[in-house]
């Protein structure tokens, strides 16, 4: 993302005309963090430094905000982001066991990435497919009823990726 080309005034929307310059920059912080993450996959120190200059905000404050939200990551993430849904319905239908399986098979903890960057294992609150519990999401795709064959296929595709 080209930080210099972002026009802060147009980015904030029309409300920008009615709020102060500082509020305007602050209001853009989270949308811009999302943008950086979309482009690079995570929030690198270098990107945050540039953002800090752009928004004229101390780096410490940017970290303070970014670290509050679970969706922002400070380390590179795997090619496949595997999220195990830990919502109520999935919990009731055995998501915990599924997570244990994945952890053991790939030797990663929750929130960790395999060494070869093939996959990152995460948990998610609820993806809202409770009818299909237990649910796993892989990048943007949703894998329902992940107790069975579906899971094997996923595991194989990750292992293939690992080579």
């Amino acid at each position: 993302m080209d930080m210099d080309r972002i026009d802060l005034d147009s980015e904030i929307g029309r409300i920008g005309a009615h709020i102060g310059a500082q509020d305007r920059r602050r209001g853009l912080l989270i949308p811009l963090l999302h943008k950086i993450q979309e482009d690079y996959g995570y929030l690198s120190g270098e990107a945050l430094e540039r953002l800090s200059k752009k928004l004229e905000m101390p780096l410490s404050e940017i970290y303070s905000v970014a670290s509050f939200y679970h969706q922002f990551y400070f380390t590179p993430r795997g090619r496949k982001i595997v999220r195990v849904c830990m919502g109520t319905a999935c919990h009731v239908r055995g998501a915990g066991k599924l997570l244990d399986n994945l952890q053991q098979r790939f030797n990663v903890g929750i929130g960790e990435t395999t060494e070869d960057m093939a996959m990152t294992l995460e948990t998610v609150g609820c993806v809202g497919c409770c009818g299909l519990a237990p649910v796993i999401t892989v990048n943007e795709d949703i894998l329902g009823e992940a107790g069975s064959k579906n899971l094997e296929l996923l595991l194989e595709s990750i292992e293939e990726d690992q080579g």
């Binding site: 929307g13 029309r14 409300i15 009615h18 709020i19 509020d23 920059r25 602050r26 209001g27 853009l28 912080l29 989270i30 949308p31 963090l33 999302h34 303070s64 905000v65 509050f68 939200y69 679970h70 969706q71 922002f72 830990m86 919502g87 109520t88 319905a89 919990h91 009731v92 998610v124 609150g125 609820c126 993806v127 809202g128 497919c129 409770c130 009818g131 299909l132 519990a133 649910v135 943007e140 795709d141 949703i142 894998l143 329902g144």
Partner: protein, 730 residues
């Protein structure tokens, strides 16, 4: 898309659109492309339809709709004008639908919904019991229109409410209508919407704001997502009406980042509304201006709370703020801000169009209207339902939900997500509205409804929700941050078998402190799952604490594990799977050595005949008539508790426990017994009584045979065993 310059132009557009759809003889296939159906392959079905229809030159329209509700049976689709409702449609069935339904107007019988395999198929959507009792007001367009096509929305009376207020209603009249309707906020707390609007309207400030709250974070709830994905225009229309009433000119929709499809559809909806001139400057030439922007959350549950949401949009950490001042007076950037849940906003156009009186006629006196619930858990039909307020839980679970999976017994229903509580069987006939749920210690919440059967442990559920809120606590208020942690520790302790007397009182005491001492809704309601389960399922807590058992066999690390010899068919899987070598084999069967057992449940899970029992401790029960006096059980007893004793009958000896407290319920004695002379009983009190005072055949404990040679040694052994036992279980 040409911008509409006046109200008249919108009217003409709608009339034309309606005429076109009425006159159209085209057959329409409405495929549900909600998240659940998409996960099951709805997109493949859509592309198969498009390809095959083009191949066979059939003129059909394929519409990708939002959630149609019956997620369990996805992918689902509807064919119009016949109205046939097909479920579990795979893309390989498309050809059949085209040849039978599209060409020959006949239903594909095997895709129709059936209550059970042997029941007659049901052709139409409304005739399915799942839909029969529903009143679809919020979801009026969900599943019927393409959410990415504003013309579909307009053709179904979309933006008529905006047209009506801009043409003939003053903001005061709109406000009165909303107040009159008694609409209460659907986000959870149930604050009257009209009052909120009035405060904001009268608040000082040149610039006012409207925020639609779509930050749905409850585990097990997906109403808002389905609405934002399936009918985004209705939310925009509600926002426009709100803005007109309170005098706001800017709006935000705050959506979870985890809902990419909702974000996409909302963006499309805003763009189309702007192009048609329904958003932006000088809407329909009336001089009224209103713009809407989207703000994405970043995975913080607490941001669903209105003041935390404001902090998040302002670019701060998502901390809640003290109220008052309420956001309606001083909210985002200290401007008067109305924050409404997306479901609340989507009801607004309907109230304006049909009138407050009509709205009040649905639902109950204090909670008019309908509520959308996400019905999940152990019910046959999971999915999205909309019911009038005041319907009973029984109707929802058994009539709409189709009862409990596998014919099991209903145990509890959890309403309101992490802020709500668990209700037991006695509340099944409770009418569901804001006040009645609050009375029994639960709440409406955003509308998650999770059904549980006898296999669910209420402590486990309480622990699940509490660990969620504990993790999501923002940390601002110590009672919430520390209190939830402490409560979780106590629950953890109880469910691992170390519960103590007084733990329940401690949980209640801390829970009440957390409720009183927290600033925002998250902390004020976080103890609810625990407090409500204590209130309605106290005996289950007591069982875990006093008897150290979990009847549902969910909690690991609690209870005594043993293999029931009479049910075991000696496959040996339990021995194989045990990582700690606790399952031992004897000539007649398997038993679990309690010293080694870590209660990991591996054997319990793998046993094909469910012969592994978790329960209270058991004691041996000697049946004199069957005992042959071989003393195998005495040799087998791992704590050297069983010994042979003389009876008053000449030459007859019986195994007996002088001190029943020594027994560790390993069951080895019964496992080695070849004649059935010694069995296990869970009635330990009776067995103890018999061992101590009701000895059969005049058995005398002071006369042993063979004479005891190592009494001291045995006693010592028991002592060490007991301590070992404790040490390993710790």
């Amino acid at each position: 898309m040409e911008s509409l310059k006046s109200i008249e132009e919108l009217r003409t557009l709608r009339a034309n659109l309606k005429k076109n759809t009425d006159n159209s003889s085209r057959k329409t296939v409405k495929v549900c492309c909600g998240t659940a159906c998409s996960a099951m392959g709805a997109r493949k079905v859509v592309s198969a339809f498009e390809e095959r229809a083009a191949d066979s030159r059939k003129d059909i329209e394929v519409i990708k709709t939002g959630c149609q509700g019956l997620c369990q049976k996805g992918p689902v689709l509807m064919v119009e004008p016949h109205g046939y409702f097909y479920q579990k449609v795979s893309h390989t069935r498309v050809r059949e639908i085209l040849s039978k339904t599209i060409s020959a107007d006949a239903p594909v019988r095997r895709l129709l919904y059936r209550e059970s395999v042997s029941d007659d198929p049901i052709e139409k959507m409304d005739e399915i019991p799942f839909y029969e009792k529903q009143v679809r007001m919020v979801l009026r367009n969900n599943g019927l229109i393409d959410p990415c096509n504003i013309y579909h929305y307009i053709a179904r009376d979309g933006y008529s409410a905006v047209e009506k207020i801009l043409a003939d209603m003053s903001p005061e009249e709109v406000l009165n209508e909303i107040k009159e309707s008694g609409l209460r906020g659907r986000g959870g707390a149930g604050f009257p919407t009209g009052e909120k609007w009035e405060v904001a309207r009268n608040a000082p400030g040149r610039i006012k704001l409207v925020i639609a709250n779509g930050d749905e974070g409850d585990p097990g709830a997906f109403m808002d997502r389905s609405l934002m994905e399936g009918d985004p225009q209705s939310i925009l229309e509600g926002m426009i009406i709100c803005a007109y009433t309170v005098g706001a000119s800017y709006g935000f929709i705050y959506v979870r980042h985890e809902y990419p499809l909702a974000v996409k559809n909302l963006r499309v909806a805003i763009r189309q509304a702007e192009q048609l001139g329904l958003l932006g400057d000088n809407i329909l030439g009336t001089g009224f201006s209103f713009t809407v922007d989207i703000r994405e959350g970043a995975g913080a549950f607490v941001c669903g709370e209105e003041t935390a949401l404001i902090s998040s949009i302002e670019g701060e950490r998502g901390f809640p703020r003290p109220r008052p001042p309420y956001p309606a007076i001083s909210g985002l950037w200290e401007m008067p801000t109305v924050i409404n849940n997306v479901e609340t906003l989507s009801q607004i156009p309907l109230i304006i169009l049909k009138g407050a009186e009509y709205y009040r006629s649905i639902g109950t006196e204090t909670s008019p209207g309908t509520k959308v619930f996400a019905l999940t858990g152990k019910v046959v039909n999971t999915g999205l339902i909309e019911v009038p307020m005041g319907i009973t839980l029984r109707e929802i679970i058994f009539d709409i939900g189709g009862g409990i999976i596998g014919g099991k017994r209903f145990k509890a229903v959890q309403t309101g997500g992490p802020s709500g509580g668990c209700l037991s069987e006695e509340h099944l006939d409770l009418p569901v509205d804001f006040d009645s749920l609050a009375e029994v210690g639960s709440m409406m919440g955003s509308g998650g409804m999770v059904v549980m059967d006898e296999d669910n442990c209420m402590l486990d559920i309480a622990k699940f929700f509490l660990s969620f809120t504990q993790k999501e606590s923002c940390g601002k208020c110590p009672p919430c941050r520390i209190g939830t942690y402490q409560m979780l520790q106590i629950l953890e302790k109880i469910t691992s078998g170390y519960g103590e007397e007084g733990d329940i009182d401690r949980l209640e005491a801390i829970g009440n402190i957390v409720k009183k001492g927290s600033l925002c809704g998250l902390g004020q309601t976080a103890p609810n799952p625990v407090l409500s389960t204590i209130r309605h399922f106290r005996e289950e807590y007591e069982e875990h604490i006093n008897d150290k058992i979990c009847k549902a066999n969910v909690c690991t690390g609690i209870g005594v594990y043993r293999i029931e010899g009479s049910e075991c068919f000696l496959c040996g899987l339990c021995k194989e799977v045990c990582a700690h070598d606790a399952v031992k084999e004897t000539i007649t069967g398997f038993y679990i050595e309690t010293d080694y057992c870590t209660k990991c449940k591996a054997c319990y899970t793998i046993c094909p005949v469910k012969a592994v029992k978790i329960g209270k401790e058991v004691l041996p029960w000697v049946i004199p008539e069957q005992c042959e006096g071989c003393s195998d059980c005495v040799d087998a007893c791992i704590v050297h508790g069983l010994k042979m004793y003389k009876t008053s009958k000449e030459g007859i000896f019986l195994p007996w426990l002088e001190d029943p407290d020594i027994c560790v319920s390993c069951g080895k004695c019964a496992a080695v017994c070849a004649t059935g002379g010694i069995i296990l009983t869970i009635h330990t009190e009776d067995a103890k009584e018999r061992f101590l005072h009701k000895r059969p055949l005049g058995l005398k404990v002071d006369e042993k045979e063979p004479p005891d040679t190592c009494e001291e040694e045995a006693a010592e052994q028991t002592g060490t065993n007991a301590t070992d036992n404790e040490a390993t279980t710790r």
